[in-house]
Symmetry: C2
Subunit: 91 residues, 2 copies
């Protein structure tokens, strides 16, 4: 049993990420980390909430951290983007 | 000295909320809670990160919680919206 699975949340529909979380927990892994940057942060929260309220009632939010990442944009500039990690675990 | 100030993060520019956080800490209060729902969640994270990285280096993220709120929409339907609270404190 692997310890942790990481899922990067981007621009896809939120249910894609809900399904990814459930797939990982059913492998099984003991914890899943949702990682998101910028506007995808609210989608990561949605994915965590939908998973634990509607599909896997035995999942808890174990930890949440926020941070800032320096991203190199296409024209060479560095922009700071907020990031977030949500650690989900089975009870 | 009041204990905690609550700031609701909505659709305004992020710097409005950064300024609001700094104003509260300078009152002073000991902690500030940023509350946001839906898409404003990523703006709340931005406001927390900008405040503590650029303006008030003695501020830490003490706790983050996420949840779901049932909102009554204008046509009478109930929709579930993700919510988030970021608790900031002076070190």
């Amino acid at each position: 049993m692997e310890d942790n699975a990481v899922i990067f949340v981007g621009d896809k529909p939120v249910m894609n990420y809900v399904l990814a979380v459930m797939t990982q927990f059913n492998k099984p892994v003991s914890t899943v980390t949702l990682k998101a940057r910028g506007r995808a942060i609210s989608r990561a929260v949605d994915a965590a909430e939908i998973t634990r309220n509607r599909f896997m009632l035995n999942i808890i939010v174990k930890n949440i951290t926020i941070g800032t990442e320096a991203i190199q944009s296409e024209d060479g500039k560095t922009v700071n983007v907020s990031s977030m990690e949500i650690l989900l675990a089975k009870t």
